[in-house]
């Protein structure tokens, strides 16, 4: 096993990995930029090294500096976390060259799975279903032929496209000719390239991802699925396991398909294989995320398997310590991402100082936080400051526990997504699992309409009482400033706001 691991990341995921290392008896090395000297991961690690100015490209993305620190500290491995260098093949290569183990998949798998085309071909070769269609540009004739082959409805897409431009849903052959003409012209105008390809149209698709663990001895297991249907700005905010639309049979099929892709790609480490599932519960391979995912804890909660520890063990050359038979999914888990964002103002970033912090506790509650009371959340990085993960015997209990825990969770000084999560859990559509991509907006809209909030009278009264408490008229209560005990003094200050002026 490794003696010392460098964590090339920050915030909650760095803390998460440090905790895993501590429980494995491995020393930890943190790195930090100028604005992160006071970050929690620096405090938790056994060693910490400065690596540059705030912008990520000058610090957390500096491969050379990170490798230098690893060498200087004598780290025998590096865990990249997620984001930053996690899916950077160049970094994996630099580690290899420096004789340091990269805790993740082999370089080749990162490169190949990073390419949509290669990943798709790999899946097809492995016999795993992909969305019927092409990824390559097609001529008009080829489009006609292919469309008939895969069957309507189809999607016509611009090769250079993005953001829905040049994209068209075609329900039958007679719409096709004029659609091709219009789409080519639109694509030409938008991207200067009129190449088109087609894909089968999947109705009411659900994104479902499958967690896998594969070791270097050719052993692999799947750990069940996660569903991440609630997103804002195409970024996940709530994830859960299991998915409401899977049963044992489909889960096993998708798990086996995920492993087939991994083996075909020569993959090892932890990984996530993404699928689309249509309304008839056909599934199609989409892509492989060659890293630890933000939402890995929901899988840990339902399986009891510590994914980070297994990932480290695999990198150290150990065999998987579980077989597929050992993997039992129990209950349900939901993760709530706590972002430093204002959910009621279009989720704009809300960096700043956390002036107050109370975290939930009790049964079935896990908090992976990267901050403490007094932390400054810098504006330079991802807005995630913590994750609340709850477990319940079933989805209903997890939801009720989530409500309870979110009520206990208080972050002051900055805006967070906590109030948003509460609205989601109170929303009937979330409870039934029937929500789509417009869900976030509709939750916020509905909230804005229902003005009446409980506790308004108490809020008014307490604001007035706070104002009264600080008025100089009562300042006579603080004559004793000579005390030497800092806590006593501190406590007195807190209790007598009147002395603040």
């Amino acid at each position: 096993m490794f003696k010392k691991v460098l964590i090339a990341n920050r915030s909650e995921i760095a803390v998460r990995i440090i905790r895993a290392c501590k429980e494995m008896g491995i020393s930890t090395v943190a790195v930090y930029s100028d604005v992160d000297r006071d970050a929690l991961h620096v405090r938790y690690a056994d060693e910490a090294y400065h690596i540059g100015p705030p912008p990520a490209r000058e610090s957390y993305l500096r491969i050379d500096k990170i490798i230098d620190v690893a060498k200087k500290a004598g780290a025998d491995a590096i865990h990249p976390g997620y984001g930053f260098l996690a899916e950077n093949a160049e970094f994996a290569e630099a580690c290899e060259k420096a004789g340091i183990v990269f805790i993740g998949p082999p370089k080749k798998a990162i490169v190949e799975m990073g390419s949509k085309t290669v990943a798709r071909q790999t899946a097809m070769k492995a016999g795993v279903p992909v969305i019927p269609g092409t990824l390559e540009p097609l001529s008009d004739e080829e489009i006609f032929a292919k469309a008939k082959e895969i069957g309507f409805p189809i999607m016509l897409k611009a090769v250079a496209g993005g953001g829905g431009k040049g994209m068209r849903l075609i329900k039958s052959e007679d719409e096709l000719e004029s659609a091709i003409r219009l789409a080519r012209s639109e694509a030409k105008g938008a991207f200067g390239d009129d190449s088109l390809y087609i894909e089968k149209y999947i109705e009411n698709p659900r994104h479902v991802e499958m967690q896998i663990l594969v070791d270097t001895f050719g052993n692999g297991i799947w750990l069940g699925e996660r569903e991440c249907s609630i997103q804002r700005r195409h970024q996940k905010v709530i994830e859960e396991a299991p998915s409401v639309i899977l049963d044992e049979e489909l889960r096993r099929k998708m798990g086996e398909a995920a492993l087939k892709v991994a083996f075909a790609a020569g993959y090892y480490s932890a990984g996530t294989v993404e699928f689309l599932v249509d309304k008839d519960r056909n599934f199609y391979f989409l892509e492989v995320n060659t890293r630890l995912q933000v939402e890995h804890p929901v899988t840990e909660m339902v399986t009891g398997i510590d994914i980070v520890k297994e990932m480290i063990s695999i990198a150290a050359g150990s065999k998987l310590s579980y077989t597929q038979d050992d993997v039992k999914m129990m209950g349900a888990s939901i993760e709530f991402r706590v972002y430093a964002e204002d959910p009621f103002n279009n989720f704009v970033p809300s960096p700043g100082t956390i002036t107050g912090l109370r975290m939930p506790g009790g049964p079935g509650v896990r908090v992976d936080a990267g901050v403490f009371e007094g932390s400054v959340v810098p504006m330079e990085y991802d807005p995630i400051i913590a994750k609340l993960i709850v477990w319940g015997r079933d989805r209903k209990e997890a939801v009720e526990r989530g409500k309870r825990a979110l009520k206990e969770f208080v972050v002051k000084g900055i805006k967070t997504t906590i109030p948003f999560h509460k609205l989601v859990l109170d929303h009937p559509a979330f409870l039934t699992g029937e929500f789509d991509t417009t869900f976030v907006d509709s939750v916020i809209e509905e909230f804005k309409k229902t003005k009446k909030k409980a506790g308004f009278d108490i809020a008014l009264a307490m604001a007035a009482i706070a104002e009264e408490e600080k008025t100089p008229s009562v300042s006579r209560v603080c004559p004793d400033k000579g005390g030497l005990n800092p806590w006593k003094f501190f406590g007195r200050r807190l209790l007598m706001r009147s002395c603040w002026f």
Binding site: Y381, K451, F456, D457, L460, M462, E467, L494
Partner: protein, 171 residues
């Protein structure tokens, strides 16, 4: 003492009578409410209060964000309330409150200025991009609120600005 509390544009008159240490009789009068409460108030550490009102228990966070402006969190519900004693409020009204200058482009988030599209004297149309701000990997574009002329540009590329800062003024 009597205070005027303002919440979402509505004023409420709040009278406080301290019955004993930590016990307040509170009378609230407003357009849509009239209430008398007796509160048993205990402060726990910085700005968390345990409040009992007619045996109902509330956990209340009261933080003064700016002078007289309070963030109040009652059992997870957030309220932004401005409170002044009656005298001050009257005074403020007489002097005229400081409002948002028309044509000011303000940011509600802190960030780094990554782009400035205009300079003083430029003519702009409503919706024209004026400034781009970046924070936490998200870019926000600020647009001209109306047709007009750029009277002032308060930031330059590379600047870091706080929430509430004025970026530019269109006239």
């Amino acid at each position: 003492m009597a205070y005027i509390a303002t919440y979402e544009g509505k004023d409420y008159t709040i009278e406080l009578k301290k019955l004993s240490e930590g016990i307040y009789e509170v009378t609230i009068k407003g357009e849509d409410m009239e209430k008398k409460l007796v509160l048993d108030v205990r402060r726990h550490g910085c700005c968390v209060y345990s409040v009992l009102c007619d045996a109902k228990s509330f956990e209340v966070d009261v933080d003064e964000r700016e002078p007289h402006l309070y963030d109040v969190l009652v059992e997870g519900e957030h309220f932004e309330i401005k409170v002044m004693d009656e005298m001050k409020k009257k005074l403020e009204k007489l002097m005229g409150a400081e409002g948002l200058e028309e044509g000011e482009i303000k940011t509600s988030m802190p960030g780094k200025v990554t782009k400035v599209f205009v300079k003083e004297g430029d003519e702009v149309k409503k919706g024209d991009p004026v400034v781009v701000l970046e924070a936490m990997k998200m870019e926000n574009e600020f647009k001209a609120p109306k047709d007009g002329v750029v009277k002032a540009v308060k930031v330059k590329e590379g600047d870091t600005v706080n929430a509430g800062a004025v970026l530019a003024v269109i006239e």
